[in-house]
Amino acid sequence: MSNVLVFAELRGAEPKKVSFEMLSAAKQIAAATGGQVIAAAIGDGLSGLGAKLGAYGATKVFVANGVAKYSTEGFAHILAGLIKQENPAVVLLGATAQGKDLAPRLAAKLGVGLASDIVGFRMDGNKFVAKRPVFAGKAFTEVTFLAAPAIATVRPNVLPIGETNGAAAAEAVLAADLGGPKAQIIEIVAGVSKRLDLTEADRIVSGGRGIKDKTNFKILEELADVIGASVGASRAAVDAGYADVSMQVGQTGKTVNPTLYVACGISGAIQHLAGMRTSKVIVAINKDPEAPIFQVADYGIIGDLFEAVPLMTAEAKKLLA
C-alpha cells in the first residue's frame, strides 16, 4: 500500500523521456511513503526494460508483451488488474496523447480520483498532493486524494530527471489480455506534415512581412524543427505571398494559444495580436524598436531576424541536445 507505480509509456520499444521524469518523481514519492518504485509497460517486441527503467529507480517492471496497438479499454484492463494486485499508493502516467486518454478511464474503473497534467507535487506526510494548472495556466490548484491509489498524469518536460545509477529492475510478466475492448484502432495515419495544426500547436514560430521572401521561411522552419514548433504567418506575409493562407494567425485567420510564440518580423498590429496574444510566452524579433509587438512580448530582440533566427536555432539545438 506504499509503492508508486509508473506506467512507462513507450515509443516503439523504448521508454519516452516522460517515463524517466515520472520515475524520478516516483522515487521522491516512494521515499515519503516508504515504498518501492514499480513500473509497468505494455507493447510489442519489448526487451531490456528492466535495465532501462531500473536505471531511473524502478525496482520491478511489469511487462505486457505482444500488444501491438494502443487500446484504451485494453490498457485500462491490464493496468487495473495490476493495480488491484499490487495496491500502489500512487500511480503516475504521462500527460501524453495516450496517458490523457487512458488515465481517467483507469481511475473510473477503479473508482478512484485523478489529477491530470500535473506540473509539481509535494508530500504532506505520506500523502501525495498534486499541483496542476487550471485556466490554461492562469492559476494553479493543489489536489489531494480521497481514495487510493491516487492517479495522476504528469506533464512532460517539466519535472527533472534524477540520477541514472539505479540497478536493473526485476521483470515480471503481465498477461497481454485486453479483455475484449469495444473500440479498436484500425489504422494509424502518419502526419502529412510533422507539424501540428497551428490551433493545436504548443510552440509556434511565426513570420511577418519582415521575411521579405517566400524562400526565407526556411530559416523559420529550421528553428521550428529544432524546438518542435509549427510555423505560422501574419496576414501581411500571406498577402505578400510568402506563406499559405492556412498559416495565417490573427483576427481573420487562426486563433492560437501555444506555450511559446516566436514572432519574427511581425510588427504586431492589433489584428495579429487578436489571434495570438493569449500565448503564454511571446518572443519578438524585429528590427523596429517601435513595433507594437514589443509591448506584448515577454522577450524581445531588436535586430535583424535573418541573423537572429539562425543564432536562435543554433542555441536551441545546443540546449535541447
Binding site: 498577402d239 505578400a240 483576427q251 486563433t255 489584428q271
Partner: protein
C-alpha cells in the same frame, strides 16, 4: 387638298400649319381612335406596374413634406442635378431629356390647338403668326438636341462601351425607337415644307423657323405622297411609343421621377431599425430579422428597383467592384429586380386562377421563394431562391458611394443591410471570422474579444478622469474600441487628450464602462446583438447611478463610426446627448482661439475623407480647414470629398477576411486606396478615422511601399494638430 385648305382659310400669308392639312377629313378620327387605344395600353401598363409595386409594404414617410419633394423633383428630376455630375453622359442625357420634354410640351400644345380649340371654334387656331414661328424654332432646336444626344448616347453605348454599361435589347430598342420618331418627325417636316413651298413660294419663308425641315425640304420637292407617308409612319411610331412605354425601358421616364419624389429624406446614415427587437422577442413575439422575401420590401424600395436604369455609376464608384469582388451595386439591384418581376408574374397569374388568401393572413413561415441563394437558405427553403449569392452582400463596406452617386436615389446599402440580417441572425451564413467577431462582441463587447477591463488602460496615466470621478464633466470623450485597445489608435487618443487639455476642456472618459458602439455589429446584420449591447450599456450606466440618457452632455468621438452611430442611431434608444466628431470640435477650438497653432513649414498633406464623415455626415471642409490652419498645403486626390474611396474597413469588413489575388486582379481595397494616397506625393497622409488608420497602416507597411513611404508620415488629424500646439503662455 393642300391648295384647298390654303385658299379656304384665306389666311395663306399667315404662318401656321394644320396637322391634318392635306389628309382625308376623317383621318383625325382614326388618329383619335388609335390614340385612345395607345393610351389605354399605356394606362394598363402603368396600373399593372403600380400593382407590382404594391407587392411591397408600407413605406413610412415616403410622401411627407410634399413641398420639399416637389423641390426635389425640380432639382433632380427636371434640372437633373445628379445626372449632370458626370459631363459626357450628363450632357447627352440632359439633351435627350429636355429635347423630349420640349417636344412633348409642343405636341401637347398642338394637340390642344388642333384637336380641341379648332374643333370647338370651328376652324380657329391659336398657333399662328409669331407664336407659330417661335414654337417652330423651339421644337426644331430641341428635336435636334435630342438627336445629337441620342447619337452621343449610341456612340457611348456601342462604340466606347464603358465597363459599367451592360447592353441589353431594351436599351437598343428604346434608343432606336426614339431616333426613328425624331427622324421621321423631321422628314415629315421637310416633306411638308417642300409641299408648302411649292404652293406658297417665297411666302413660305416663315417655315425657315423649322430650320431642319426647311434645309432638307429641297430633297423632297413637291411630293404630298411622301409627306403623307412620313406623317403616317411618324404618327404610328409616336402612338406605339406611348403604348409601349410602361413595358419597356421607357418606363424609367416615370419610375425615376417617382423615385426622386418619394426618396428617403431622412438621415441618410441610418440603418433601418427593428424597433424594440429584443423586448418584443422577450415577449414571445415573432420578429422578422430582415429581408429574405421580395414582399418584405417596402413599395418605395421596389419602386427604386424599377427606377434603376443600369447606368452603372454606382458600380463605377463601388470599392468592392473596383477591386474585383463579387459585389456590383448595379447587378445587385438588377438581380433583386429580376426576382421581383418573376415573383410578381407568378403572383399575378396565381391571382387570376386562385382565390386570394384571407386578408391579413400571415405568410407561411419560412417558405420561399427567397431572394438569396446561399447554401443555408436553400436548405431552409422549399419554394426556390433568387440569384443573390451571400458573398455579394458580405462584400459591401457600407461606404455609401453607390447611394451618394445614384441619380435617382436608389438605396443599395440599406437593402444590403436588411438582407445581411437574414444571413447573420437567421441562416448563420457568414464566414468564420464573422461568427468569431459576433461571439467576441457578445461576450466582451469589443471586436477582438479582449478583456473589457483592459479598455482604455492608458487614459489614467494622462490624468484623464473617469465620469465616476468627475460627474460634472461637460464633454464625454468616447474613446472607442480602436482608441481603447489598438496601439496605433491609442496614439491618436493621446494626441486628442493633449489638445483637450491644452484648451482646458472639462472632459471625462467612461473607462471600463465604455463598450463598443456596435456600428460593425449593426452593419453586419446582427441587429439583435447590437440592441442587446446598447441596452447593456444603458443598464451599466444606470447601475452607476448616472443618467442613461446623457441629457445635456456633449460627446466627443475620434472615430467616425462611433460618431455616426452615437449621433444618429443611439437616439432611438433614448440617448439625448449631442455628438461631435473631433474634426468639428478641433476646428471650433481653433476658431475660438482656445488653442494656438504654430505656423506652417511648407509641408504638404493629402486628406483621406472617411466615408462616415464625408458621405454620411457632410463633414468635408472641417478637416481641410484644420490642415490649413496647421499651415499645411493641401493636395487633393481625384477620389475625394463626397466621392472619396473607402479604406475597406466599413460595414464590419475590417473584421472579415477580404479576398486578395493580385494575379486575378483582385486587390485589397485598402491597398488600392493607399496607393492613390501615396501617389499624391504629399509629406503627410492624413485621416480622421482610426479604422481607416488601421487599414492604411497595414497597406502602407507593405514591402513595396517602403521607399515611397520613407519620407512620408501617416497621421490622424489630431496628431497633426497636437504637434503644432503652441505651448500655453505662462500666466
Amino acid at each position: 387638298m393642300y391648295e384647298q385648305h390654303v385658299t379656304q382659310s384665306g389666311v395663306e400669308r399667315l404662318p401656321m400649319w394644320g396637322m391634318y392639312d392635306g389628309f382625308w377629313a376623317y383621318t383625325r378620327w382614326i388618329i383619335y381612335g388609335l390614340a385612345v387605344v395607345a393610351m389605354a395600353i399605356f394606362a394598363y401598363g402603368v396600373w399593372q406596374r403600380v400593382r407590382a409595386y404594391r407587392m411591397g409594404r408600407k413605406a413610412e414617410g415616403a410622401l411627407d413634406n410634399i413641398g420639399q419633394r416637389i423641390a426635389d423633383l425640380v432639382r433632380y428630376g427636371i434640372l437633373q442635378l445628379r445626372v449632370i455630375r458626370e459631363a459626357y453622359p450628363g450632357v447627352f442625357h440632359l439633351f435627350l431629356f429636355w429635347g423630349f420634354a420640349v417636344l412633348f410640351f409642343g405636341t401637347a400644345i398642338t394637340v390642344l390647338d388642333e384637336d380641341f380649340y379648332q374643333l370647338l371654334t370651328h376652324g380657329e387656331k391659336f398657333i399662328k403668326g409669331d407664336f407659330y414661328i417661335g414654337l417652330s424654332f423651339l421644337l426644331t432646336t430641341f428635336g435636334l438636341l435630342a438627336i445629337i444626344g441620342l447619337c452621343l448616347a449610341l456612340y457611348r453605348r456601342y462604340v466606347t462601351k464603358p465597363d459599367r454599361l451592360d447592353n441589353k435589347q431594351e436599351d437598343a430598342t428604346l434608343l432606336v425607337l426614339i431616333l426613328l420618331i425624331l427622324i421621321t418627325g423631321f422628314l415629315t417636316q421637310a416633306a411638308r415644307i417642300g409641299v408648302v413651298r411649292s404652293v406658297k413660294g417665297a411666302a413660305a419663308s416663315y417655315e425657315a423657323s423649322r430650320f431642319v425641315g426647311y434645309a432638307l425640304a429641297g430633297l423632297f420637292g413637291n411630293s404630298p405622297g411622301l409627306h403623307k407617308f412620313f406623317w403616317t409612319i411618324h404618327a404610328l411610331l409616336s402612338l406605339s411609343f406611348i403604348a409601349v412605354l410602361p413595358y419597356t425601358k421607357g418606363l424609367h421616364f416615370f419610375s425615376t421621377l417617382a423615385s426622386v419624389f418619394t426618396r428617403n429624406r431622412g438621415v441618410k446614415a441610418r440603418v433601418p431599425s427593428i424597433p424594440k427587437m429584443m423586448e418584443r422577442m422577450e415577449a414571445g413575439e415573432e420578429v422578422e430579422m430582415g429581408y429574405k422575401r421580395i414582399d418584405q420590401l417596402t413599395w418605395r424600395e421596389i419602386l427604386q428597383l424599377d427606377a434603376c436604369t443600369r447606368c452603372g455609376r454606382c458600380q463605377a464608384q463601388c470599392p468592392a467592384h473596383n477591386t474585383g469582388k463579387h459585389l456590383s451595386p448595379k447587378t445587385f439591384i438588377q438581380d433583386v429586380k429580376e426576382h421581383w418581376l418573376a415573383e410578381w408574374a407568378k403572383k399575378r397569374d396565381a391571382n387570376l386562377t386562385e382565390a386570394k388568401p384571407a386578408e391579413g393572413a400571415a405568410p407561411a413561415e419560412d417558405t420561399g421563394p427567397f431572394l438569396l441563394e446561399a447554401e443555408a437558405v436553400c436548405r431552409a427553403c422549399e419554394g426556390g431562391t433568387g440569384k443573390l449569392k451571400s458573398q455579394v452582400l458580405w462584400d459591401c463596406t457600407n461606404c455609401m458611394a453607390c447611394v451618394n452617386i445614384c441619380p435617382v436615389f436608389v438605396e443599395h446599402v440599406p437593402l444590403i443591410n436588411q438582407m445581411r440580417r437574414e444571413l447573420a441572425m437567421e441562416f448563420d451564413d457568414s464566414e468564420k471570422a464573422c461568427k468569431d467577431f459576433f461571439k467576441k462582441m457578445d461576450t466582451n463587447a469589443n471586436p477582438w474579444g479582449m478583456n473589457p477591463g483592459d479598455r482604455m488602460s492608458w487614459t489614467a496615466e494622462l490624468g484623464v478622469p473617469s465620469v465616476l470621478e468627475k460627474p460634472d464633466y461637460e464633454y464625454l470623450y468616447w474613446v472607442g474600441c480602436m482608441g481603447g485597445y489598438d496601439a496605433r489608435a491609442i496614439k491618436i487618443g493621446k494626441a486628442f487628450v493633449k489638445i483637450l487639455q491644452a484648451a482646458n476642456v472639462n472632459f471625462a472618459v467612461l473607462g471600463e464602462l465604455e463598450m463598443c458602439c456596435g456600428d460593425s455589429l449593426r452593419r453586419l446584420g446582427n441587429e439583435a446583438s447590437f440592441q442587446a449591447l446598447v441596452m447593456m450599456f444603458k443598464e451599466n450606466i444606470k447601475g452607476c447611478e448616472m443618467d442613461p440618457t446623457f441629457a445635456g452632455k456633449k460627446v466627443l468621438v475620434t472615430c467616425p463610426h462611433g460618431y455616426n452611430t452615437l449621433k444618429h442611431e443611439y437616439p432611438e434608444f433614448g440617448f439625448q446627448w449631442q455628438v461631435f466628431h473631433h474634426t468639428e470640435f478641433i476646428l471650433d477650438l481653433i476658431k475660438q482661439g482656445k488653442i494656438k497653432l504654430q505656423g506652417g513649414n511648407g509641408h504638404t498633406a493629402v486628406l483621406h475623407d472617411s466615408c462616415f464623415l464625408a458621405r454620411y455626415n457632410d463633414i468635408i471642409d472641417q478637416p481641410r480647414d484644420i490642415l490649413k490652419a496647421c499651415g499645411l498645403k493641401l493636395v487633393e486626390v481625384e477620389r475625394s470629398k463626397d466621392l472619396t474611396f473607402c479604406c475597406g474597413g466599413g460595414g464590419g469588413r475590417a473584421w472579415l477576411e477580404e479576398h486578395f489575388d493580385p494575379e486575378k486582379g483582385i486587390n485589397r481595397i485598402n491597398f488600392d486606396r493607399a496607393d492613390e494616397l501615396i501617389k499624391a506625393g504629399a509629406d503627410n497622409i492624413v485621416s480622421a478615422c482610426p479604422l481607416c488608420m488601421m487599414m492604411f497602416d497595414e497597406a502602407t507597411k507593405r514591402n513595396e511601399c517602403e521607399s515611397a513611404m520613407a519620407n512620408k508620415r501617416l497621421l490622424d488629424i489630431a496628431e497633426i494638430v497636437a504637434e503644432k500646439l503652441e505651448a500655453p503662455k505662462a500666466n
